[in-house]
């Protein structure tokens, strides 16, 4: 399926979505397609909104942001998000914030279809005072007080992986973040892959499979689909772009010009990649292979 088809079918106005990937494997290709299709009123969930949600928020796609750390990692604030919070530009945005563990716990409860998740957290913090969804419960066994956060069950999870087969059996290596929980918590799962491989390749190394195909709704082949995020073993994080984003996002006109050139100005990810082949080449990963293991018996 193309990214346009997948977003068209599985991301609707007003939906709750999660594009996961902690620094690693963030599907910018999906975020850009959501902007191109002018989705509105999304409830956008992610531990770290990162540049991809900054772009979607600045483009007017997001009604509510559910998150735990909102910055440009290593490079400052997310200015489009700040404009939405502080000035209501392009429109006001609701925020619902947790800590990382709180977001991980919400998706874990969602994945296992439990109503909430208990955790030893938030005591003495002001976060529960500004987020009524962070509650306290008494343990029925020990009587101690614990924090509790509600399950998060998005309509759609979008997860980029290094390789998948056509059925969506998906393998990841390197940082795994909270992708497995996000996928299992959601009604629909879009798997986006750097490489489409034969099912035999997946079956030859089953320990690496993070998401089984039978919970996946759509598979999209999208090389360079994470840029400026990265895919371990394929291409490095484009740290220069993350730093450059500081100046782009700070200025509303530069922000709009960026979207015009790199999002609205291209039909799809392939065109986006084609426009910057030199950069793609310069980010190509070095080789660090591991020893094969024997799955025989």
């Amino acid at each position: 399926m193309t990214m346009a088809d997948a977003i068209g079918r599985f991301v609707g106005d007003g939906d709750t979505i999660v594009i996961e990937g902690f620094t690693h494997l963030i599907s910018f290709a999906a975020g850009h397609e959501i902007i191109r299709q002018k989705r509105r009123d999304l409830v956008a969930c992610r531990l770290t909104p990162d540049l991809v949600y900054d772009q979607m928020i600045g483009a007017g796609c997001v009604r509510r942001l559910v998150f735990s750390w909102a910055g440009n990692p290593g490079a400052g604030p997310l200015y489009a998000l700040r404009r939405a919070i502080e000035e209501g530009v392009p429109h006001p945005i609701e925020i619902e914030e947790y800590s990382h563990y709180g977001m991980v716990a919400r998706l874990t409860a969602g994945a296992s279809r439990l109503p909430f998740f208990p955790l030893r957290d938030y005591a003495g913090s002001d976060l529960p005072m500004v987020n009524p969804r962070i509650q306290q419960i008494e343990c029925p066994f020990t009587g101690e007080w614990l924090a509790a956060v509600p399950a998060l069950n998005p309509d759609t999870a979008i997860v980029h992986v290094q390789r998948a087969d056509l059925n969506g059996n998906a393998q990841i290596w390197g940082l795994m973040g909270v992708q497995k929980e996000a996928a299992f918590a959601s009604k629909h799962v879009i798997v986006v892959a750097e490489e489409i491989v034969d099912e035999a390749v997946i079956r030859a190394d089953p320990n690496r499979t993070l998401i089984p195909g039978f919970i996946v709704s759509a598979v999209v082949h999208e090389p360079f689909g994470c840029h400026p995020s990265y895919a371990q073993g394929f291409y490095d994080r484009d740290n220069d772009f993350y730093i450059a984003w500081r100046e782009i996002s700070k200025d509303r006109a530069k922000f709009e010009a960026y979207l015009d050139e790199w999002v609205y100005g291209v039909a799809n990810r392939a065109e986006y990649a084609e426009k910057q082949l030199d950069r793609w080449r310069s980010l190509r990963a070095s080789e660090r292979w591991c020893e094969p293991v024997n799955y025989g018996y």
Binding site: F22, A70, S99, D121, S125, D126, M176
Partner: protein, 250 residues
């Protein structure tokens, strides 16, 4: 050799890490402190990054907490559920590093908002993993440059609890971790006495007057005040040539 304030913050923090400790590392200065300790007196320090890298040995300076260099040659890469549930809440983290826009008299840290939450003067990034690190790590080290604004008597918002409003409050809340054990600033080092931040050493050339001019309350000063040892030539060489050759943080 002359050195910057960031460099002495890194070396002073590095010396607080003992060999074999399991350390939750932040990006920037904490990352430099941990990797410096690992190259010198603490070769068995275990570096854990909230992104999922355990026993990381980064060959280049990580710009983000999820840098691919944290994965290459690490001991283990695990999910964030594992990191927060099994490692941190499971009591496996000896030292957590925190930074913050504001830290107060009792070691409470604010990384959420300056001003009111609903109408912030400045919206900051939020907790990330800091809230749970502050509650669950056996001890917490804080690195922060100090000024009257960044060291107020009481923070605008408690993102990550220290000793709340004094001694015994963590125990009352049932927090498993020990709370902040040291604060390292551009002027000196602090420890916590009865839950209150107490100046214990001054960096060379800094005075108690400098400290008082850059802190928002009448700060406690230890009876015997030490001088923070200056960075050695070897420490500076490692920081400048190996850890941060582009001088991004120093």
């Amino acid at each position: 050799m002359t050195y910057s304030t960031n460099e002495i913050m890194v070396t002073a923090s590095s010396r607080l890490l003992a060999d074999g400790e399991v350390t939750f590392v932040g990006i920037g200065l904490p990352n430099l402190a941990c990797n410096l300790a690992r190259r010198l007196h603490a070769p068995n320090l275990v570096l854990i990054y909230e992104s999922g890298a355990v026993g990381a040995t980064p060959e280049r300076l990580p710009i983000s907490i999820g840098d691919p260099a944290l994965v290459t040659d690490s001991l283990s890469v695990c999910s964030m559920y594992d990191i927060f549930c099994n490692y941190l809440q499971g009591g496996r983290i000896d030292v957590g590093f925190l930074q913050g826009a504001q830290i107060d008299r009792y070691g409470n840290i604010n990384t959420t908002v300056v001003g009111e939450y609903a109408t912030p003067k400045v919206r900051l990034p939020g907790s990330g993993g800091a809230c749970e690190i502050a509650i669950l790590a056996k001890k917490v080290l804080v690195m922060a440059p100090q000024s009257r604004r960044s060291f107020p008597e009481k923070v605008d918002f408690v993102t990550s609890p220290g000793f709340l409003d004094g001694q015994g409050r963590r125990e009352a809340f049932g927090m498993p971790g020990g709370g902040p054990s040291a604060v390292i600033t551009n002027l000196g080092c602090y420890e916590f006495v009865e839950g209150e931040m107490t100046l214990v050493s001054l960096h060379p050339g800094c005075t108690v007057e400098d400290v008082r001019a850059n802190i928002g309350w009448d700060v406690r000063v230890a009876a015997t005040l030490a001088e923070t040892p200056a960075p050695t030539d070897e420490e500076l060489r490692i920081i400048r040539e190996e850890l941060d050759p582009q001088h991004l943080y120093i």
